[in-house]
């Protein structure tokens, strides 16, 4: 499908390229050959028939069913009337002006002794979204400190970090609202900018759930998220079983067997016999953090474990917070996920506690040492926030040499990793991957885990 494109009106060609650019900015992988295919397809359909044009673009540009939602919403916003486009442009302009104004105001208000505080744009934005009551409380706090004249000079950074801490708290609370209103970065094309803004505000079907922080997935979207997780688990299961099944492929000639078999043909090797290579299946050992801060993630991850357990026999599952607990038997009873989870939560002593990874690892090494073989892959799901992390590091060093690999799925968003010293520390001993969104989980499971 790689002939030269001709006969396409230039404006259409430009439009398609801009449309593809927009899809690429949204994260879709579309190569040049797909664009050429799309342009070729458009030569074969009447351009005034919207549905045919849409289908042609969809089948040539999109190669993953999960991306259909994003394609549909982007298509509807991109190929629209000039009036609507103008409306979207105006809307963005107003939004940009409003947010600039809010940022300026927040910058001026959040000052100490006449000097502006050193706050990032995100922090200022969070302030502007805070409820009026909370804004006032923060201002009162600053004012109260302002009037104290006995304060030392280095009190300012301390005060600043207190304010930042408060803003961080509110960032977590208002995350969804802020993201929804966020003005997307300038793409150098006003039309594309406004379309991106509109797409972000409307949410984008399946992809939105995939890229949403698992902690923030709305209750109404849970069944869809669950279905996605099940699908991922099924994919992983088939890949594991496929990858590590004994090979039936003809690898090498089995000379001994061939000669023995050829005796019946007077020594002529009429039928060749082949040896097949045996490949061992890996043993998966899952350690899932179910401490208070991890509960929401743990729900998703246990869904995933449940999915795997229903199809793969050799998974040992543990949950931990202040100590470690083996939960494999719950998953082997063939109950529904709800009953399994209800049983785990009811029976578990560790559900929702604080995190002591060192103790959990210690118990693992003491009680379940037999599970740690050269063929074992340990998967830890945790946000790395644990007490006594130095001791946890020492404990983690012990299985490191015994097992095939230690994978760490970190539920902290990637851009927050630098803020926690524990992340850097554990990274030295385990292969750490972000696992904050379902898309992350999918990526880790489909590529990294199976590459080993």
């Amino acid at each position: 499908m790689n002939t030269i494109i001709c006969h396409i009106p230039e404006s259409l060609e430009n439009n398609i390229i801009r449309f593809v650019y927009l899809l690429r900015v949204e994260g879709l992988r579309i190569g040049n050959s797909e664009v050429i295919d799309a342009l070729q397809a458009l030569q074969l359909v009447p351009l005034d028939e919207r549905e045919k044009v849409k289908t042609s673009l969809k089948v040539t540009l999109i190669k993953k069913a999960a991306d259909y939602g994003l394609f549909e919403s982007t298509f509807d916003l991109f190929f629209t009337s000039p009036e609507i486009r103008e409306g979207l442009r105006k809307l963005r302009q107003e939004k940009v002006e409003e947010q600039t104004k809010q940022l300026k105001e927040a910058g001026e208000v959040l000052s100490f002794r006449g000097e502006k505080m050193n706050l990032s744009e995100v922090e200022k934005t969070v302030y502007s979204y805070m409820p009026e009551k909370e804004k006032k409380r923060l201002m009162d706090f600053l004012e109260m400190n302002e009037s104290r004249d006995t304060l030392q000079r280095d009190y300012r950074p301390f005060l600043e970090s207190l304010v930042k801490g408060r803003l961080r708290f509110w960032h977590k609370q208002l995350h969804q609202e802020i993201e929804k209103d966020k003005v997307s970065p300038d793409l150098g094309d006003e039309d594309l900018n406004s379309i991106r803004d509109a797409a972000a505000g409307s949410g984008q079907g399946g992809s939105a759930i995939l890229t949403e922080d698992m902690q923030h997935i709305a209750r109404k979207d849970l069944p869809r998220a669950t279905a996605l997780i099940r699908k991922m688990a099924r994919l992983l299961v088939t890949r594991i079983s496929r990858r590590f099944r004994h090979s039936k492929r003809r690898r090498a000639l089995d000379l001994r067997s061939t000669i023995r078999f050829s005796i019946q043909y007077g020594g002529v090797p009429f039928r060749l016999r082949y040896k097949s290579r045996r490949v061992k299946k890996p043993r998966l050992l899952l350690l899932c953090d179910v401490s208070g801060s991890m509960i929401r993630y743990a729900g998703f991850v246990l869904q995933f474990i449940y999915g795997l357990n229903t199809a793969v026999q050799r998974i040992e599952s543990f949950v931990f917070s202040e100590n470690l607990e083996r939960v494999t038997p719950y998953f082997q009873q063939g109950q529904s996920f709800e009953s399994t989870m209800a049983a785990v939560v009811k029976e578990s002593d560790v559900w929702g506690g604080g995190t002591s990874l060192h103790k959990a690892l210690h118990t693992l090494l003491m009680k379940y040492e037999d599970e740690l073989t050269r063929n074992t892959i340990i998967i830890i799901v945790s946000d790395t926030r644990t007490i006594r992390h130095q001791e946890a590091l020492i404990e983690l060093q012990r299985p490191k040499g015994k097992v095939k690999e230690i994978l760490w799925l970190n539920t902290l968003p990637l851009d927050e990793w630098d803020n926690y010293s524990t992340v850097t520390a554990f990274q030295k001993l385990a292969n750490m991957f972000p696992c904050n969104t379902l898309a992350d989980l999918e990526r880790v499971m489909s590529r990294k885990l199976l590459a080993g």
């Binding site: 190569g31 040539t60 999109i62 279905a227 099924r234 994919l235 009429f270 229903t310 063939g334």
Partner: protein, 242 residues
Amino acid sequence: MGKVLADVFETELIRLQCYEGLDENKSLYEWNYQKQLLKIQIDKKSGSTGQLETDLFSPDYLLERPLLKAIQADRKVVLLIDEVDKSDDEFEAFLFEVLSDFQVSVPELGTIRARHIPIVILTSNSERELSDGLKRRCVYLYLDFPGIEREIEIIRARVPEAGERLTAEIARAVNYIRQNPEIRKKPSISETLDWTRTLVSLNRDRLESSDVDHTLNFLLKSRADQRVFREKIGSDSLVKNC
């Protein structure tokens, strides 16, 4: 789809069923080893060995497998590569050459170019993600479950003996079951058709809850799904909603 296309173009359908371990020998060509050995034995006895080496690697000793057959066909054929996700990564990479240049290389014979570029359909059940390279060479079409109206049309076309009321109720019931996120293996169209045929053979003209209970195994093929159905949907509620 392959059959319909072959009918439309009035041509032959060549099918390659993929499975784990499928390789070039089974999909493209294989030398007829036994025939070659027999030829050697015969020539040894008759004493003529002159042209033997060239003869042994001629098309006479080549066993054509579906891909080579499709490429060497005298007319444009439809090539159905079914369930490509079940094959291995190596086989997928091998398909690149066939699908991009429509040619294959047989070391002893050289490159064989397609006489007529076949219409190729690859199907996948998404058991694994296909490589970008393979997808780049294809147009991608995701076939979701049909809506109620479409499924009614399908049942009418394939099981015309089913009454109007039964057809509509079955389509709505299957759609209702598919909506439940806890059902893992959602009933496919062919299972809908099997279920319809079963009910027709029981002389039913409408959906009754007792029939649903007795024939559920035509629709849901795992114990877990049947349990979810009984606990979360129930045959009475299904019949009421359809």
